[in-house]
Amino acid sequence: MRLRAIRLLAVVAVPALLFAACGDDDDATDEAGSATTGAPAEESALEGDITVFAAASLTDAFGEVGEAFQAENPDVSVEFSFEGSSALREQILAGAPADVFASANTSNMDQVVEGGAASDPQDFVTNQLQIAVPTGNPAGVTGLDDFAHADLLIGLCAEEVPCGEFGREVLTNAGVTPSIDTNEPDVRSLLTKIEAGDLDAGIVYVTDVMAAGDAVEGIDIPADQNVTATYPIASLTDSGNPEVAEAFVEFVLSDEGQDILTSYGFGSP
């Protein structure tokens, strides 16, 4: 029992000190200091709820990032809304109650910044694209050239969302005119149809193929045809809890956050 308490203390105290050190908020240290006994006294003074709007491709990775962040800040609760970045941008500009925005491309973040909803975004990960096929590759897809075959069932993300934009860029780089059967509204729904074997191939992020585990297989795209997507993150101007929002952004950029993200296949910017 005591051992566990000490371990807990170590887990929560270190980040608490870190945040206290980099924060400019006197209240934070006061509150932490004024509490009297037990482990909770050493916990981070951050408290409250934040909602993070994050690109659909971050679903699994941010799930773990969120858990780690909450483990270090037990009084904080992080909620996620994962969707296509453009849908999230639209919601943020319409005044949705979000505290942090993590976009899968720079253009959506730029529009949010232009709209005055965020400032000073920072690039936190990069991602590349890969061909995804159902396990066993029943259609025998070997590369981007197969995307031109009319008898294969080919899916891309819709060109309105980042993964669709990048996917088309890759195909253009390869000089392939695809025979598309569906333009999916986001990368997850594209992946679901590939996993189910309803599509023969699609272009998704490397991280998606990794996250899907055994359900799909990835086929690499030659480096000179591939595209690197840069993901920016920012706390939002209208956040109801700017301290926690900022702390979350810093956590994502910290070594610990980056370690989690790279374990999901993301690159560091």
Binding site: G84, S86, A87, E90, L153, G155, A158, E160, V161, I180, D181, T182, N183, E184, P185, S189, T192, K193, A196, G197, D198
Partner: protein
């Protein structure tokens, strides 16, 4: 509809009880205000250019035809089902009714996924069918019709069932004593009596199908001219071009109102 009680129809005009009118007004406002807000945001200056795009005309044509086809299928299958639910007793009837209206409560995306598991290329039924014939519902216009039917048919079944329950059974009894066959009674007595509820149900079903998004995109995918209906086009337009999305929504609303308003007073009296 001459065999409906015309007196009952007209005699309903009366003074409203206290609070009914204000609450009704709140209900109207609650539904109207968002529409007005949409109109206020509408890009009136280049509306013509926005709705004249091929992507819009393709989506509108597809929406109208698939919603109509789904309503047709729902009529053919749904009226008999409503009759069975209203007029027969068998063990598990309430379970069947619950199952049949399940698509009304199920999130449409889940419905679409379920359709995929059933009729997809590796689905329960879709798999064997594809392997033997090469026929595939997903990513085809029939897939859109299938998704629409799945989501919208319950609206018809529920409406027609309550219409059949409300009908006076004595007419059917009288016809039976006069020697009419069961099929003749169904065709000449039951169906005409249920006509208002059938039309109401068909309209509800059509309207629901017209606005269908989740099941369609999950099951049938999204391709201009083949599976991209208006709601899908609106959703994707919203990603990049809010003006276009609003313009598209206005077209959808205008088409729905053009159908619903004339029908409302004439038929939707159930």
């Amino acid at each position: 509809m001459s065999h409906r009680r015309p007196v009952a129809r007209r005699a309903r005009q009366q003074r409203a009880p206290w609070l009914v009118v204000p609450l009704a007004a709140v209900a109207v406002a609650y539904v109207t205000v968002p529409f007005l807000a949409l109109l206020e945001r509408a890009p009136w200056t280049n509306l013509g250019e926005l709705v004249g795009r091929p992507v819009v005309t393709d989506a509108l044509r597809l929406s109208l035809t698939t919603a109509l086809a789904a309503t047709g299928i729902a009529l053919v299958l749904g009226i008999p089902l409503a009759w069975v639910l209203a007029r027969t007793r068998f063990p598990g009837r309430s379970a069947v009714r619950a199952l049949v209206i399940l698509p009304m409560v199920l999130p449409p995306v889940v419905g679409g996924a379920a359709l995929l598991f059933a009729f997809g290329r590796r689905g329960l039924l879709g798999g064997p069918v594809y392997d033997s014939t090469g026929f595939l519902l997903p990513f085809s216009t029939w897939g859109v019709v299938a998704a629409n039917t799945f989501v919208a048919m319950p609206f018809l079944v529920v409406t027609v069932e309550s219409g059949l329950r409300a009908a006076d059974p004595r007419y059917e009894d009288a016809a039976a004593t006069l020697g009419a066959s069961r099929w003749m009674i169904f065709r000449r007595i039951t169906l005409p009596h249920a006509a208002p509820s059938i039309i109401a149900g068909a309209v509800l079903c059509w309207a629901r199908a017209l606005g269908e998004f989740g099941a369609t995109v999950t099951f049938a995918g999204n391709l201009q001219g083949r599976t991209q209906t208006m709601p899908l086009a609106v959703f994707l337009a919203l990603e990049t071009d809010r003006d276009a999305a609003i313009a598209l929504s206005l077209v959808l609303i205008a088409v729905s109102l053009a159908v619903l308003i004339p029908l409302r007073d004439r038929w939707l009296t159930v």
